[in-house]
Symmetry: C2
């Protein structure tokens, strides 16, 4: 963009997914140590809600660890897949090979 | 705790540190693709500010990747080290071996 708004608007990190070996024991550990809410949990992954961020705990062989950003022009990064919860996203890699999910703003 | 406030207060994720191979090119990639601010950068790590989270890009051999939480009772997790910027924290591991930094609220 050639112009920027006077107050810079920053993008948000929607969630971060980190690898665990066992979802149940990881959820218990985070719940025991932090004030967070479990918004989803099965045997392969769980989503914990913190005040400013969602933290996904994933079995890496089934759900790759990644960073997820909300982006106003997500479709410019690739074809968006619609998930069961209605969100739309695509996955790309950063230069280090980290998986990055780009979520549409809608 | 035996009692909870009526409106549950959740803890915050202070920052997330992910591994990169080259700090400069990683910073350029995230800057090109997202609206974020570089609040610190040297050859071994950088800190990017997003709307809701700080994202550290680190050379893993010098700065281990980790999740950092603000906690009201950080000192119960271990002896706190005071950093150059005045923050105090300790590092622990979650059950999967992920490094977790516990930052004091002050």
């Amino acid at each position: 963009m050639s112009t920027r708004p006077p107050l810079e608007i920053l993008d948000s990190v929607h969630h971060v997914a980190v690898s665990v070996k066992d979802v149940k024991s990881a959820v218990e550990w985070y719940r025991r140590n932090f004030r967070c809410k479990v918004s989803y949990q099965d045997d392969t992954w769980a989503m914990l809600d913190f005040a400013n961020l969602k933290l996904a705990l994933v079995l890496p062989q089934q759900h790759p660890p990644h960073l997820a950003f909300v982006h106003s022009e997500a479709d410019k990064f690739g074809a968006l897949n619609t998930h069961r919860d209605g969100t739309r996203s695509c996955y790309i890699k950063d230069p280090a090979g980290n998986s990055v999910e780009i979520l549409a703003q809608d």
